[in-house]
């Protein structure tokens, strides 16, 4: 105990590094931590950006208003009484009169054919806008909301200026309403005609493509995965796995080309003597259009096949060996083991894989833009007969591409309709992803 006790800390410090550098190191550590947290925040920001953009522009879609008639083609006069005023439609030169109508286009059509009331304006949420005739004048544009209306009179809230004759009159309304959007069976955004914004024709296009794709990819993917996990010799696996990876890496535009130039002509069975078949059946069942949902669905199926296969195979491989060996030990064949033991054990993973594949089908864009057709079906007019997979149906993603390809400006109802459709798309895929995640996390069996 003659030796004076030394401080052990300086020695240790000397070994690790100079004490001076710890401050710098802490600073670096803090800086790294901050930048990593910023990276993490970026992904949150992306989600906020998607949700925020889709939401605000969808709101804009339902509030943007479109001109339905000008004073030039709608003669009339203003009558004022106290606080309120009304706009009364006068006769046109040929004796016809404008009629303000609401509600269904069927009602409008009935009156249309009734008498000589040719011009009919269907108005929902209308407003009257007075625009100064002289653009140089400082007079403001005045918007007068419509309080109520009869067939030829609009009662307005507020009074128009005294010199109303120096204004141009426009009647405008919002063509998109939330209820119609969510339940409507007609999608026709074109200007000129009465626009209809019912989402179901686009959704049914998407669902049709998804259904066909899953009919192709579901069984094939499941069986291929079982084979890869339970049966296939290693040499075959080494060939098949890269093939599936390459198939998964094929750009979707290439598969669109494939659908259009290979699958569609093959589905027509052009080499087969069709006249014989039509003679027997009375119709040709392979009367397939140039753009059709069937070939687009098959191509999307080829696209999702590798996804289903690899995810299902992963789920099957996660099933512990002991379960299989127990089954074999009881005398079951490989077929019985895979159908009755491993597949049920891996069910949560398989369902999650299928949900992910469905989400991928719903969001698939280029194949359907090329091969599924450019025309939304008319569910309101044609009903269920429009759901013919041999014909073209425009899915939601196809609509987005078709509109963006047609050089639109960054305002106007068509532009905002993109965001409303994309919002529906996002909600569907979001729900599928979350449900898949919950199934995978909550129902996964733990074998430890």
């Amino acid at each position: 105990m003659s030796v004076a006790p030394t401080d052990p800390v300086p020695n240790a410090r000397r070994r690790i590094g100079k004490p001076k550098s710890t401050k710098l190191r802490d600073l670096l550590e803090g800086g790294v931590m901050t930048s990593l947290v910023l990276c993490g925040l970026f992904s949150i920001l992306t989600t906020v950006g998607i949700v925020g953009t889709l939401f605000t522009d969808t709101v804009e879609f339902f509030s943007v208003k479109q001109v339905v008639a000008h004073a030039e083609d709608m003669p009339g006069k203003f009558e004022s009484s106290g606080n309120a005023s009304s706009f009364v439609v006068g006769q046109q030169e040929d004796g016809t009169k404008f009629r303000f109508l609401t509600h269904t286009s069927a009602e409008a059509a009935a009156i249309h054919s009734d008498e000589m009331l040719r011009p009919v304006i269907i108005i929902e949420d209308p407003e009257v806008r007075l625009i100064p005739r002289d653009p140089a004048s400082k007079a403001p544009t005045i918007v007068l909301p419509v309080e109520s209306y009869t067939i030829d009179r609009l009662t307005l809230k507020g009074t128009p200026p005294a010199d109303v004759s120096s204004y141009r009159i426009e009647l405008f309304h919002s063509p998109a309403r939330v209820a119609d959007f969510l339940t409507g069976g007609e999608w026709n955004p074109k200007l000129g005609s009465t626009p209809h914004f019912g989402i179901w024709p686009l959704i049914s296009g998407t669902l049709m493509v998804t259904l066909i794709a899953m009919l192709v990819a579901g069984p094939l993917g499941l069986i291929t995965a079982i084979w890869l996990a339970e049966y296939a010799p290693k040499r075959v696996r080494d060939v098949l796995k890269p093939v599936l990876e390459i198939l998964a890496g094929v750009p979707t535009v290439v598969l669109g080309f494939f659908a259009l130039t290979v699958i569609t002509p093959q589905l027509r069975f052009e080499q087969f003597p069709m006249s014989l078949l039509s003679g027997i059946l009375g119709v040709n069942p392979f009367n397939i259009g140039t753009y059709n949902v069937l070939s687009a669905g098959i191509a999307v199926g080829i696209l999702t096949l590798p996804i289903i296969t690899s995810l299902t195979e992963d789920a099957l491989r996660a099933v512990p060996r002991a379960l299989r060996e127990g089954s074999f030990g009881l005398g079951a064949t490989r077929f019985e083991t895979s159908i009755k033991v491993t597949t049920p054990a891996a069910l949560s993973g398989i369902i999650a894989a299928f949900l992910l594949a469905i989400a991928r089908c719903v969001g698939e864009t280029m194949i359907v833009a090329l091969a599924a057709g450019q025309q939304p079906i008319d569910l309101a007019g044609a009903g269920a007969s429009a759901l013919d997979p041999r014909g073209g149906m425009q899915p939601m993603t196809g609509y987005l591409v078709a509109v963006i390809g047609g050089d639109i400006s960054n305002f106007g109802i068509e532009y905002f309709s993109l965001y409303a459709v994309a919002a529906v798309l996002f909600v569907i895929t979001f729900a599928l992803t979350i449900v898949g995640h919950i199934i995978r996390v909550k129902f996964q069996q733990q074998y430890e």
Binding site: T47, I223, I226, E245, G249, P251, T261, L305, V362
Partner: protein, 491 residues
């Protein structure tokens, strides 16, 4: 034999089980074998699909693959169209995408895997980020395109438009004037919103290469006497030439050229007449000799016009009319930036970054997770800090996995068409991008346009483009598979 043994065991009287029990070996084994055959067919489908796809594309496109196709620009004719400009566009946006997505992606993955917080609240945030990334991976790419359209292209319409941006860096605005001598000269403008300059107000003109140049500004009245002189001289020349050709003293090309040269010298110019102008004049004279009537008169008019034009060029090389109206010109440096980004290379790259970011994050996470725990613990036990452990131990060990993920993500970015279509500046882009703010087109977009055209030739060059695209992607995928198999062998 087996039948009797199983019935004697007293199996429950369920019909199927009875049937199987009665014939257990053959039926069940047949099921097993039959299922194996079905499996082989199902598995063969994907191989078959890929084979048909490749065969069809190569069969219809290989004839169109040529050097002019690979380097060329898209046009209205299938035969002369090329995919070169689209390839350059794809390379540009993928570079932007890689430079942004890789650091952010690896950073997020490191945060999620290596910095797991211990207290309950922070862990919840952590789990939320993780779930959020799972969700982002499932968002359709076309939705990312719409996000790019709002956020990058228009920037919520908060910062003006592309033609009148709210912020600019690296651009110089000029008013461009044309001199009588046919040269363009530039006058710098402070602000692109200012009204057009008058030539007399410009203190100093510059050439295209930014060299100062002396320019004389004159009104058309001042120049009129000289212009009249030139006009009369060219009219005289025409008359002389016409007379000479009619009388037969001028017959050969050389003789005509000599007469033109003489007239030029007689006008008192020091330099010789420019060769292409002389050629033009001689050709016109020859045409006038060989034809009659209106055609001959027109040819002679052309002679006089060309001679006057070339003389004006010679006499007033640097003269601008005082009433000439300039055109706006913007010179953009290679580092030109503006807000909003517009439909530019930067927008395309950033939009693709959003698409591939979840892929990079998830694959990097998997790579980090596969690094053995003991390596980290050893490093920490040696006194290394968290970041030293990550940067010197964990990340190097995970590099093969990360590289595979990045390569697969980039091959996704190359083939991705929908989000790029949303933000690209149309399909026909007749120039190569010179800076980040220039428009672009990409290979998948070009292919999409060609496939969408009704003519069969366009589908064939689309197939040729697809061969090129698939070639690039196969290289990428092959590299990824190679790296993975090598590391698997090493492990």
């Amino acid at each position: 034999m087996s039948t009797t043994s199983s019935t004697s065991l007293g199996t429950p009287p369920v019909p199927i089980r009875q049937m199987m029990a009665r014939n257990p070996r053959t039926t069940r084994a047949a099921f097993d074998r039959g299922f194996a055959v079905v499996c082989v067919f199902a598995a063969a489908f994907s191989v078959f699909a890929l084979a048909v796809l490749l065969a069809r594309i190569i069969w219809s496109g290989v004839n169109y693959l040529s050097w002019t196709f690979i380097t060329g620009m898209a046009g209205s004719e299938a035969a002369t169209s090329g995919i070169g400009y689209a390839t350059v566009g794809t390379v540009c946006i993928c570079i932007v995408c890689a430079l942004t997505a890789i650091p952010i992606g690896i950073g997020t993955a490191v945060l999620l895997e290596e910095y797991r917080p211990r207290n309950e609240k922070a862990r919840r945030v952590h789990d939320f980020v993780q779930l959020n990334i799972t969700n982002l991976a499932g968002v359709p790419s076309v939705v990312y395109g719409l996000l790019g359209l709002t956020v990058f292209v228009y920037m919520f319409n908060l910062f003006g438009s592309v033609s009148n941006p709210g912020f600019e860096f690296g651009a110089t605005h000029y008013d461009r004037f044309l001199t009588l001598g046919g040269k363009t000269v530039l006058a710098p403008v402070a602000d692109h919103n200012s009204p057009d300059l008058k030539p007399s107000e410009v203190p100093q003109f510059y050439t295209d290469t930014e060299q100062p140049v002396a320019v004389e500004v004159a009104s058309s009245e001042d120049l009129q006497p000289k212009l009249d002189e030139i006009d009369s001289r060219s009219a005289d020349l025409t008359i002389t030439l016409e007379a000479a050709t009619k009388s037969g003293t001028l017959t050969t090309v050389d003789q005509i050229r000599k007469a033109v040269d003489d007239a030029w010298k007689a006008a008192g110019h020091a330099n010789a007449i420019p060769v292409e102008s002389a050629d033009k004049i001689v050709a016109s004279v020859k045409l006038a000799m060989d034809s009659t009537g209106r055609k001959a008169r027109k040819a002679l008019e052309a002679v006089s016009e060309e001679f006057a034009r070339v003389e004006v060029r010679e006499v007033f090389p640097n003269t601008i009319l005082s009433n000439s109206v300039p055109q706006e010109e913007v010179k953009r440096a290679p580092w030109y930036l503006r807000i909003p980004f517009g439909r530019s290379v930067l927008t395309g790259g950033l939009t693709l970054m959003l698409v591939v970011l979840p892929i990079i994050i998830i694959s990097t996470q998997e790579a980090l997770r596969s690094v053995s725990r003991s390596l980290r613990q050893a490093s920490l036990a040696m006194g290394a800090t968290q970041w030293q452990t990550i940067s010197k131990v964990t990340l190097p060990a995970a590099i093969p996995g990360i590289m595979t993920g990045i390569i697969l993500a980039m091959s996704r970015a190359i083939g991705e068409a929908a989000p790029v279509l949303m933000v690209a500046s149309g399909v026909f882009v007749p120039y190569l991008p010179q800076n980040l703010m220039d428009g672009f087109t990409a290979m998948p977009l070009q292919i999409y346009t060609w496939v969408g055209k009704p003519q069969e030739e366009f589908r064939q060059i689309a197939a040729a483009g697809i061969i090129l695209l698939l070639g690039i992607l196969l290289c990428f995928n092959g590299l990824a598979i190679y790296i993975r198999q090598r590391t698997q062998r090493m492990a």
